[in-house]
């Protein structure tokens, strides 16, 4: 496999943590999180299962909320990249977007009418058929290249970014809007509650007493560009997709394989594509849904494969945004690399001896230029992105220290730095 280094020139994100990427990052570092009962729908469960809803957001009536969230994230990402519709129309630009709800023909009111033998009006079906996420972006921004909506359940967003990057690598496109989007809905909430993996309180990723996930909603878009295009328009890369790996457990439709072999293969593939060793990984943005099974498998794999490398889950701030999660977390990962720090793993309190690994418990300074963002999904899918500030050909010009090759990841707690004492190294990764 050839080394990958696909520039990321723009980022956009909307989630319960904030209406844009900067707001999300600021709220996470403040430690804000406010899961609450859903406001846009209700259920009749005796317990309240809190969710992370995007507040004060309304999309156009003819589109699913998923598509509207996606458009918001895409506009932010394109503005960040310094691109507009006119410029995009002159490029071979594509869209690769992950979702789950955004492709489902599951309008509940429509189906209730149908089941009752009445003749429901077609507007809900038209709305769904008009809201295919990748097609929405292609229409909105006049994209002429490949257009793909990935429905790999909860790894969709990570897969979309990885596959979008591979389109650039293969020369299929000059530019790809890659990301994910999903909205909260009654049927999805009921589905996760029925599987007994929703928590009746705020989620606690990797905690000994974790009770399950909180659902969330949101979207994120990464502008991936061919290096030649970036040079031609004299733009800068915020970071790079350095590697992508994916695998299937082939074990169970909804549970991860207990041995974690599939996740390990995906991690190894992503690191091999990036040409990096475990010791160079500054941190891992883990899937960390806070379900007992996911966190057990993921924690054990991280302990074995990337021992000592700091990790966190950001789902304590956003909830589990399903098909959007991988894209949102990729955007967070890049922003954390840029800021040189990661937020505390919100909701975590008590280490689980069964995991062999403990996430970061406070905002933490990181050193290093590459990080992993990973997703696990129903269907046994595992997907991992290696994201870095530098391309293999050299460091980004605006950075003063470190380069990808030979840099050693190390971390220290932000608190100790702020207190002015010597930085306490928490971990140096695997030597």
């Amino acid at each position: 496999m050839t080394a990958m280094a696909v520039p990321i020139s723009g980022l956009g994100c909307i989630s319960a943590a904030g209406p844009d990427l900067d707001a999300c990052m600021a709220s996470m570092f403040r430690g804000d999180r406010a899961p609450a009962a859903p406001r846009r729908f209700s259920t009749s469960h005796p317990l309240c299962y809190p969710v992370f809803e995007v507040p004060d957001f309304e999309g156009p009536a003819g589109l699913l909320r998923t598509a509207a969230l996606l458009l918001a994230a895409a506009r932010e990402a394109l503005a960040d990249a310094g691109l507009d519709r006119e410029r995009l129309a002159s490029l071979r630009a594509g869209a690769c977007i992950g979702t789950t709800v955004g492709s489902a023909m599951n309008d509940e009111a429509f189906c209730r009418e149908l089941r009752a033998g009445r003749s429901p009006a077609m507007a809900p079906m038209d709305r769904i058929r008009s809201s295919n996420p990748a097609a929405v972006l292609a229409r909105a921004f006049g994209l002429t290249g490949p257009c793909q909506t990935i429905v790999n359940a909860c790894s969709s967003g990570t897969d979309a970014v990885g596959l979008g990057a591979s389109w650039i690598e293969a020369g299929l496109c000059d530019l790809v809007l890659a990301g994910g989007a999903d909205e909260l809905g009654r049927i999805t909430c009921n589905g996760f509650i029925s599987m007994r993996i929703s928590a009746p309180g705020p989620c606690r990723p990797f905690d000994r007493d974790r009770e399950g996930l909180n659902l969330g909603e949101g979207a994120a878009v990464l502008v991936l560009e061919a290096p030649e295009l970036l040079r031609r328009r004299r733009a800068r890369a915020r970071s790079f997709v350095l590697g992508y790996g994916s695998s299937c457990d082939a074990y169970h439709p909804t549970a991860p394989s207990p041995d974690g072999a599939g996740l390990d293969r995906a991690i190894q593939e992503a690191m091999a594509a990036a040409g990096i060793q475990a010791s160079q990984v500054a941190f891992v943005n883990a899937h960390g849904t806070a379900t007992p099974d996911n966190d057990r498998v993921e924690g054990r794999v991280l302990a074995a494969t990337l021992p000592g490398v700091p990790f966190l889950s950001t789902k304590g701030f956003t909830g589990h945004t399903l098909g959007a999660a991988g894209a949102i977390e990729a955007a967070f990962t890049v922003a954390c690399l840029e800021q040189g720090r990661i937020p505390a793993c919100a909701g975590f309190k008590t280490p689980d001896p069964d995991l062999g690994a403990v996430p970061v418990t406070e905002n933490t300074i990181i050193r290093g230029t590459v990080a992993l963002s990973q997703s696990l999904a129903f269907g046994g899918n595992n997907a991992v992105l290696a994201l870095g500030l530098d391309s293999p050909s050299g460091p980004r010009p605006d950075r003063e220290w470190g380069s990808l090759r030979g840099s050693h990841a190390c971390v220290r707690s932000e608190r100790s730095t702020e207190q002015g004492g010597p930085p306490s190294v928490i971990s140096g990764g695997r030597p």
Binding site: M1, T43, S44, H45, G94, T100, S103, A104, M105, N106, E108, C111, R112, L114, R115, S119, M122, D126, R129, N132, A135, A138, R139, L143, T144, P146, C147, Q148, T149, I150, V151, N152, A153, D159, L163, W167, E169, A170, L172, R186, I187, N190, G191, I193, S194, M195, R196, S246, C248, A250, Y251, H252, P253, T254, G262, R265, E269, F378, G379, G380
Partner: protein, 310 residues
Amino acid sequence: MRITVQGVGVVGGFGCGVQDLARALGAGPAVGEPVAALRADPSPLDRFVPRRNQRRLDPFSRMAALAAYLALEDADVLAEDHGRLGVVVASGYGATGTTLALIDSIIEGGDACTSPIHFAGSLHNAPAAHLSILLGAKGPSLTVSQFELSAPSALMAARLWLEQGRVDRVLVGAVDELSGLISYLWDRQGELERPLGPGPRGEGAAFLLLSSREDAGEPYCILEQAVTGRGPAPGLAPAGLALLSGSGEPGVTDLPTRRLTPVYGCMPAAPAFDLAAAAILLKQGDGPERIACLTCTGEGEFGLARLKGW
């Protein structure tokens, strides 16, 4: 790198397997009363998977699994280790029958009685998950949903994986079902902003086994091109025949063209059947050396695959 089609598996209103499709292609559409719906029978899956192991598979996943097994059998690799096999599944609408059943469970019993089995089965990637489990396929797995462009999009992804060397075999195909929900859309398609197509309505699954291995056996054909996009489709030359699908018009082409949807029905998965038909026609060897499969949507999108005889 040369990417070849090593096996073809199909199930649809015409029957099950390459021979049934070849026969239907030769015979053309039935003469007489128009066919209302071309339905697929996935029961031959029993030949590959014991019934007790099909418990979690809904009809949608059973169709996909049957076509996939047939493709592997056709390529004579069914008994081999599939640990490095990639799987790409396309569907325009997903498991709409199970989605209706899921909502039924909520309507009948209330939110607390939501069926977890139907919830899991309603996810678009359920067929890919079942396939991977049944076959022990541990390579990358992908499900795409792009309405009429689902199958061309899946083919593009599969080709890329092979070119990148991520895998050396990919099972790629498409599945769609004619559930109560989709039947209702057909009944009322005049009220939709964009109609579903001219009919007849159809369902089924079509899979190809693609390989980049030089030591693979004699293939059906070579996959030369797989692209999708928006705007005018690339030129179809040097193909000698174009198989057309989709609700849009391809524009002017000086090639002979055929629309085969009367054979297997109109559905988002139809472009995958076109690929299977093209592979069969090329292997028969009495037609053109190259066949283009072109899907055009009513919104100006296209998917194009070009296959060349061995």
